[in-house]
């Protein structure tokens, strides 16, 4: 592997419409932010641009750490992704397993109209993906062992679209597994019931629903531009401002808005928090918990913290046995 191809691979996400930071989505997000600031925040164009390209945000210590993490994580991903389970393995296991039920018949709906099948598959895939993201994200916050890892993401003191890459590699692995299981299961089930006509509805090779999610400003979730929706809509779809609430240091915002695209999961499970008008929010974690800009600390602290969780739990367990 030569160095140029490695560099190309590291930055390939910018050219990949399947990724949030694809240049097209990035440009649309900037445009969206500009229009939002002019029309709804009554700024002049100069003021809007100054706000969008705020040096204090884009070049803060936290943001610069994000850029470093981006490169390191891309390299790590290249190394470990071939080792992970594939969707095909999960899909095949599910497909095999479904044969065990006598009341389920393979190819039950093979005669169904293709357009219906494609719509159903595309919707289900997106829904299951989104729901499992909600669940895993919730666990990340609720379970101390996982929170040790997820702290890396919440240690960002300023947010830019690149902050989406600010995750510990272990979290990357967990999310990769989640995606494999979610998509593998849906694929296995659909092929079992609907046969060969199952296909994904795509735009630029991307799930059409993911595409909609990205062109409507998914990059602004990690930004300082607080785009809000109407309160009724924020019960169904998570607005960028709602995700910023999720990152807020304000205690009343803790453990809220775990959702990615849909807000209904938060609504159903009591973790929904609607955005509030132009609140000045601060982000990040206390230095004692996680560093915003020290790369060594960012990568190693989760292991130390996990070890602490394990030892303290073990001690507690041993004491409980003795008592």
């Amino acid at each position: 592997m030569d160095i140029t191809s490695v560099i190309t691979d590291v930055f390939s996400d910018f050219a990949d419409p399947k990724k949030r930071i694809f240049v097209g989505y990035f440009a649309l997000s900037l445009a969206l932010a500009f229009v939002w600031l002019i029309v709804l925040r009554r700024k002049d164009s100069k003021g809007a641009l100054r706000k969008i390209f705020d040096k204090k945000v884009w070049f803060s210590g936290s943001a610069r750490a994000d850029y470093g993490i981006f490169v390191i994580n891309q390299l790590v991903t290249m190394l470990i992704s071939p080792l992970l389970l594939t969707q095909l393995a999960i899909g095949t296991a599910v497909f095999f397993w479904l044969h065990n039920f006598e009341y389920l018949s393979r190819g039950l709906f093979t005669d169904m109209n293709t357009a219906v099948v494609v719509t159903l598959f595309t919707g289900t895939l997106f829904l299951v993906d989104d729901f499992t993201k909600y669940v895993v994200h919730r666990w990340m916050h609720r379970w101390p062992l996982l929170w040790s890892i997820h702290k890396v993401h919440h240690s960002a003191k300023t947010m830019t679209p690149i902050t989406v890459y600010r995750v510990h590699p272990l979290e990357g692995v967990l999310y990769g597994l989640r995606s494999t299981f979610a998509q593998g299961t849906v694929i296995g089930m659909f092929i079992f019931f609907f046969g060969g006509s199952v296909e994904l509805a795509t735009v630029l090779g991307v799930n059409v629903l993911s595409f909609v999610f990205h062109v409507t400003g998914s990059n602004l979730r990690h930004s300082h531009i607080q785009i809000r929706y109407w309160p009724w809509l924020e019960r169904f779809l998570i607005s960028p401002a709602q995700h910023q609430v999720h990152h807020s240091t304000d205690k009343r915002h803790f453990d809220k808005n775990y959702g990615v695209a849909f807000a209904v999961w938060d609504w159903m499970f009591g973790s929904l928090h609607l955005s509030e008008d132009e609140e000045e929010m601060t982000y990040g974690l206390p230095e004692a918990q996680a560093s915003a800009d020290n790369l060594l600390d960012i990568y190693t602290r989760p292991f130390v913290d996990m070890w602490r969780v394990i030892t303290s739990r073990t001690v507690r367990f041993v004491n409980w046995i003795r008592a």
Binding site: F95, L104, R106, L125, K133, E171, S179, L200
Partner: protein
């Protein structure tokens, strides 16, 4: 200037000509190399006994379909045994001339009058067949069952005898004789050496003839390296006279111009499925290359290097042939899977028709699964698993299936299985074969849709988190 460009053209064209592979390399004729031979023979290639056996195997399949439900059982069984033993002046029953595809020979004796199937049949135990019987006992049991069946099909047990007999024989005779005898012990230094005649009075050496015998069991036309999978397949189906008739005399000589069983299934794998395989070409080339080494030894005993080279080609033939049998087993496991799916929604006449097709495919599946266990490799746990998954008989319409044979040699069906469970078994058969043998043609892959969809969504799997 002009001179030099002319010279360049001349050099280039000579190089290009030299670079063209000898694509019309045929298996034989090969010169006599036997030291001290004084006869007038000029060609050492001789495998007519094997071709006679190919014809007998193909004919047995046709005869197996001649039963009328019991009345003519004795007659059919006698006929099967006659062809098994090559007794009497036998007509070739298959392949015979067809419109646009005339066949030179009509009698087995025109090919060979002494070669029989019986003497070359697998004598080891066949664990995939009920009753703990040897290969020869199994085929004889199959004959007696075929004889009392109705047009070769035992509907009650779901067994298609023509398919079972023909596919099992392709392993128990052709494959076994080639890979476990001629290409195995007869390719060692002291067995059938190259500096002696194959047998007293022969004009070919021990190694030459052993290699040719193996080629005869493989069953490809001598000019197979000119044919791709689709063409060799069409020749077997008697649909392409031009490609079959290598010497242009207007008739097909079964001895050298026809595609028989084993080679036919290699061609079938190459022409269908993923189209990424070249079993026919690879095996044919190994036969040609091995024969070349032996011929070039010029009647001397093979040196250690020559022997190693020949054994290397033999190993290629053995492993590719095994894969061809595994590909065929894989294919029919997929057919059985699809047949079950189809039958689930059918009734009456249509169901009966689909059930007949299912029985045929199951017979091919089982026949090939038995065949692959007759080679020189001990398949161990793979064979055990394969036999368990496929069973002794297909799941029949009342969900019962053959579990063994009683003291009279009649089948008993003491268990039941659901269609779904049996479908799952077929998926496992495909997976087992694919994993064990590294198959690539993968015809009728029951999980192909799944793989295609998962492949299409591969990069969709994003680790993006929030």
């Amino acid at each position: 200037m002009r001179k030099s460009s002319l010279a360049l053209t001349a050099i280039l064209s000579t190089t290009m000509l030299a670079a063209v592979p000898a694509f019309s390399e045929s298996y034989g004729p090969y010169p006599v190399t036997l030291q001290g031979y004084e006869g007038d023979k000029t060609n050492t290639v001789s495998y007519s006994g094997q071709i006679a056996r190919q014809v007998l195997e193909k004919s047995l399949k046709s005869i197996a379909g001649k039963g009328n439900g019991g009345e003519n059982a004795a007659e059919v069984e006698a006929m099967l045994l006659a062809y098994f033993n090559n007794e009497g002046d036998l007509d070739i029953i298959s392949p015979v001339s067809k419109d646009g595809f005339p066949v030179l020979q009509t009698k087995v004796s025109e090919i060979s009058s002494s070669a029989n199937v019986a003497g070359k049949f697998y004598k080891g135990l066949v664990p995939g067949y009920p009753g703990a019987q040897t290969g020869v006992e199994v085929i004889q049991h199959m004959f007696s069952q075929a004889a009392k069946s109705n047009k070769g099909f035992d509907a009650e047990n779901g067994l298609d005898w023509g398919q079972l007999i023909s596919k099992f024989t392709m392993g128990a005779m052709q494959y076994n004789q080639a890979v476990d005898n001629y290409l195995d012990e007869k390719m060692t230094a002291d067995n059938k050496p190259n500096n002696k005649p194959y047998k007293d009075g022969a004009h070919y050496t021990g190694k030459e003839h052993s290699w040719d015998e193996a080629f005869g069991y493989w069953g490809a036309p001598a000019h197979a390296s000119d044919l791709d999978g689709a063409t060799a397949y069409a020749v077997a189906k008697q649909k392409d006279l031009a490609s079959a008739d290598a010497n242009g005399d207007g008739v097909v000589d079964l001895k050298t111009e026809y595609t028989f069983g084993p080679a036919y299934y290699a061609a079938a794998a190459d022409k269908s499925g993923t189209k990424t395989t070249n079993y026919l070409g690879t095996i044919m080339q190994a036969f040609l290359d091995g024969r070349k080494v032996i011929t070039e030894a010029n009647g001397e005993a093979l040196s250690a290097e020559e022997l190693a080279a020949v054994q290397g080609y033999a190993a290629v033939i053995g492993s590719e042939w095994e894969k061809v049998l595994a590909e065929a087993t894989f294919k029919y496991a997929g057919s059985v899977y699809k047949d079950i799916e189809k039958m689930k929604s059918l009734e009456g006449e249509e169901l009966a028709k689909a059930y007949r097709a299912y029985g045929k495919h199951w017979g091919e599946l089982k026949g090939f699964a038995l065949a692959i266990q007759t080679g020189k490799n001990n398949l161990g746990a793979t064979a055990v698993e394969l036999n368990k998954l496929i069973g002794f008989g297909p799941v029949t319409l009342d969900n019962s299936f053959v579990t063994g044979i009683d003291a009279n040699g009649d089948f008993v069906r003491e268990r039941r299985m659901t269609w779904n469970d049996y479908q799952l078994n077929m998926l496992k058969v495909q997976k087992l074969l694919q994993d064990t043998f590294g198959l690539e043609a993968l015809i009728n892959d029951a999980t192909a849709d799944l793989a295609a969809l998962a492949g299409a969504l591969e990069t969709e799997a994003s680790a993006e988190t929030d």
